[in-house]
């Protein structure tokens, strides 16, 4: 029923845009999963890695009741840190990659911890603190790449290109960079963290009832800071993957404009913070973005209509997913 009405709404929209449904959906599928030698599929996977990474960063904090919506700032700081260290440390090859990733994670983590300290010491809500820290992160890096660390020759607000030895290699025989492997590792790690680790348990209990957790002897201060550091570090890692794997430099706005952080938050909320579902959710959003832009490119569907279609699909999936989530919850309570 819902699928049918979804179909008709899409038909109506495409009719409005003077495009045939068949053509548009083919363009959608092709640019999400196809292309010459699956080039578009690799783009989708690459994008999926970034969105899933940001979704994991959001999920970790949200589960602990810390509404960290500053993923964007932590991502940008991480990305810049990776680029800066890669260019100016002089370390090359694998040690250079490791160094860049570690700096990005530390940078992103510290940026999130800053919001935690603002909460614990000054009483600034995490929501407000993390959101506001997005702006300095964005504009400080914007200043850095526009002035002191600018690649003047390129004429753009961006850093120099990274040494080739620091680029994440492609998977053999494909055009897919190895960045997504890092995210797969993080995904596995987060599954274990959420279900089987003591810090993950502490974070969950703190998120469910802070008063109960405190009374039972969980240290709220350190749980808050550790969880935020973890969340921020993952966002920083995503920044490093974007720099080392895709762009090979840091360009102003390159991590902000595609809305990776915000899409990640939506993905995490869509699946009701259930850890295993974060990867499918990330893939869903990535293919939707790829598909919509392909539709615009090849089927002459205007960008606006493509975005509306994207929104409607999200709306339908979201209502389904939340329905399923509350069903399982009711079942547990009914026992």
């Amino acid at each position: 029923m819902t699928a049918l009405s979804l179909f008709f709404i899409l038909l109506l929209l495409l009719n409005l845009a003077d495009a045939s449904f068949f053509e548009a959906s083919q363009a959608f599928l092709k640019s999400a999963f196809g292309g010459r030698r699956y080039a578009y599929l690799y783009v989708t996977i690459s994008r999926c890695a970034l969105i899933t990474g940001m979704a994991i960063a959001a999920l970790i904090a949200f589960r602990a009741g810390l509404i960290n919506i500053g993923g964007e700032g932590q991502l940008v700081i991480g990305g810049f840190a990776a680029a800066f260290v890669s260019i100016y440390s002089g370390v090359t090859g694998v040690p250079g990659i490791i160094l860049a990733i570690l700096s990005a994670m530390i940078g992103g983590g510290l940026w999130a911890v800053l919001a935690g300290l603002m909460k614990l010491k000054l009483g600034v809500p995490i929501l407000v603190g993390t959101l506001l820290l997005n702006y300095p992160a964005r504009y400080i890096t914007s200043y850095f790449v526009s002035h002191p660390f600018r690649d003047v020759a390129s004429g753009m607000p961006q850093t120099l290109l990274l040494d080739k030895s620091l680029w994440l290699p492609f998977i053999e025989g494909t055009r897919l960079d190895t960045g997504f492997i890092f995210i797969l590792i993080v995904y596995g790690f987060v599954l274990i963290y959420s279900h089987r680790s003591v810090p993950g348990y502490h974070a969950k209990m703190t998120g469910l009832s802070i008063e109960f957790a405190a009374t039972s002897g969980i240290n709220i201060f350190s749980t808050t800071l550790k969880t935020l550091a973890f969340s921020g570090a993952i966002a920083g890692l995503v920044g490093a993957i974007a720099v080392l794997g895709i762009h090979h430099r840091f360009t102003d706005g390159m991590l902000v404009q595609p809305l990776y952080a915000w899409t990640g938050i939506v993905a995490a909320l869509l699946i009701n913070l259930v850890p295993w579902a974060i990867l499918p959710a990330g893939f869903f959003f990535a293919s939707l973005t790829s598909g919509a832009s392909g539709m615009e490119r090849t089927a002459d569907v205007p960008k606006e209509i493509a975005i509306i279609i994207q929104g409607i699909i999200i709306l339908f999936v979201a209502s389904r997913a939340t329905g399923i989530a509350s069903d399982t919850k009711n079942k547990e309570e009914g026992n």
Binding site: R196, S197, S209, A213, A214, T215, E333, N335
Partner: protein, 510 residues
């Protein structure tokens, strides 16, 4: 206004909260309604004010039968209520707060502030109130806020004003002002219902007093010819038969020791605390809720800090230590508020059951949870305490109140801590569970644990405790041997001013 409550009964689930209570309220009177926590006073008032509409019986206002769908019907009929917790918007002015919800309109729906101000100024003059109407509420003292709440009812032309524990939060001077105003209202022909625990205030100010106990109206008498002693005896009632007997055991060494402990943020200005609880001993603290018991407990647990003095658990100074250190040294805590402090309702039973042991690292291996051990442990607790639950992975929110409490007690007692703090451990629990919980506490005592029992249920205190102290206005009385004190004597200490030294001395020498 003549208000009559006729045969009012209210059930909460299987608990009978009100059992055919009838009450007559007359104009030109201050009518005090007194009773212990849970006696049914607030429930009765919520029926009269339209907050509770599921009741049996009838309400008559000036001899006509009335039914309310919402409190606004009751307000229209001339009933006003001042709640214990004020319902004011802090960032708005006094004037805006008073008129909120019944604003006078000018043409085109604009607010007529001038008319409102004139009306309120008249009220201020009539009743000798002084308050700046254009001040925002966040700058007001507690007494002034209460004045705003009262003005709200007067502005809506209330003829019957209900005040729920109005003096609990006031300073002595503010109390005096309040009672002067109440006398003025009374002389202006209004009816006042005063809900309170404090008998001396009742004797000094009320014209009529009704005593409630366990959902029933015990007596309703004019104040003349009624003595403090009579009221306090009616409030606490006669002892229920004791079904549990305590074995005689000699108490051991001191396990919990408070010495000159001056706690931050007590509700009233009291003395520093000195308290000892020994092994194989249950020490009961009786008293009406809100006299500083929860602050004392929070200080012992580590949720609240203190200005001076120290706390020792098992002879170790833990004054500045955090909660987990205190728990490690040997402390467990059965909280009164099981929904908030006792459980995470959205988590599974096993997650709830294992939290204390997890904090102490018994159920973890490095950073990993020992899932099987946690599950077996939870199953064991559920079995041992007969918690009605489907499985260890069910959510805590699926349990009934009594089963939630059993799970909490099972968890805390399983820690085998030397010191056990139990705060109203049987509050809102059915009779079967109460007996079970009492037995568990007594067997912990026999096994050499030191138990501090804080309860507003005097019967519970007298059944379980070896020694008993009374808390009143943030002060602890001396400790009495349970065998050598009567519930009447304790009742007096619970309900009367501590400065009433004569009464106190009499008891002490008795």
């Amino acid at each position: 206004m003549f208000a009559q409550l006729h045969d009012i009964s209210v059930n909460f689930g299987e608990v009978r909260a009100l059992d055919s209570v009838s009450l007559d309220i007359s104009p030109n009177q201050i009518h005090a309604v007194v009773g212990e926590n849970g006696a049914g006073k607030s429930t009765l008032m919520s029926v009269l004010f339209g907050l509770n509409v599921n009741y049996g019986g009838q309400i008559f206002i000036n001899d006509t039968r009335k039914t309310w769908a919402t409190p606004s019907d009751a307000i229209k009929a001339g009933i006003g209520m001042v709640h214990q917790h004020f319902m004011l918007i802090e960032s708005m002015t006094v004037l805006e707060n008073i008129i909120l919800g019944s604003e006078p309109n000018k043409y085109l729906g604009f607010l007529d502030f001038q008319l409102a101000e004139k009306k309120i100024s008249n009220l201020l003059e009539t009743y000798n109130f002084s308050i700046n109407l254009h001040q925002t509420v966040d700058k007001l003292s507690v007494g002034q806020r209460q004045m705003v709440e009262i003005l709200k009812t007067l502005y809506r032309s209330a003829e019957l004003i209900i005040l729920d524990e109005p003096t609990a939060v006031l300073t002595p001077a503010e109390r005096l002002d309040l009672f002067n105003s109440l006398q003025d209202f009374k002389n202006a022909g209004k009816s006042i219902i005063l809900i309170t625990h404090k008998i001396d205030e009742v004797i000094a100010n009320a014209d009529h007093v009704s005593v409630m106990r366990a959902g029933q109206l015990i007596s309703s008498l004019p104040i003349d010819g009624t003595s403090q002693t009579q009221i306090s005896e009616e409030i606490v009632g006669v002892s229920k038969t004791k079904s549990i007997s305590r074995k005689k055991i000699k108490a051991g060494s001191v396990k919990l020791n408070l010495s000159n402990l001056d706690i931050l943020g007590m509700p009233q200005i009291g003395n520093a605390f000195n308290l000892e609880v020994k092994a194989s001993e249950i020490v009961g603290i009786a008293g009406v809720a809100g006299n500083g018991q929860s602050e004392l407990i929070e200080a012992i647990i580590g949720l609240r800090s203190s200005k001076s003095g120290f706390i020792e658990i098992c002879s170790r100074d833990v004054t500045g230590a955090d909660i987990s250190t205190r728990r490690d040294v040997g402390l467990c805590y059965i909280p009164e508020d099981r929904q908030k402090r006792g459980l995470a309702l959205g988590a599974q039973l096993s997650e709830n059951a294992s939290i204390s042991s997890l904090v102490s690292k018994a159920f973890s291996k490095g950073p990993f949870l020992r899932k099987t051990k946690i599950r077996n442990f939870t199953e064991g607790l559920i079995k041992k305490f007969d918690v009605k639950a489907s499985s260890p992975s069910a959510l805590a929110s699926s349990l009934s109140g009594g089963n939630k409490q059993k799970l909490i007690i099972a968890r805390e007692l399983s820690l085998e801590s030397d010191v056990i703090i139990a705060e109203n451990p049987t509050w809102g629990v059915d009779l079967g569970a109460i007996n079970q919980i009492h037995h568990e506490l007594l067997s912990m005592r026999e096994n050499g644990h030191a138990i501090l029992l804080v309860s507003s249920d005097l019967d519970e205190i007298l059944t379980l405790s070896d020694r008993v102290l009374v808390m009143f206005e943030s002060e602890l009385s001396q400790s009495f041997c349970t065998e050598k004190v009567t519930r009447e004597e304790l009742g007096k200490l619970m309900l009367m001013k501590a400065s009433d030294k004569k009464e106190k001395k009499k008891i002490n020498t008795a």
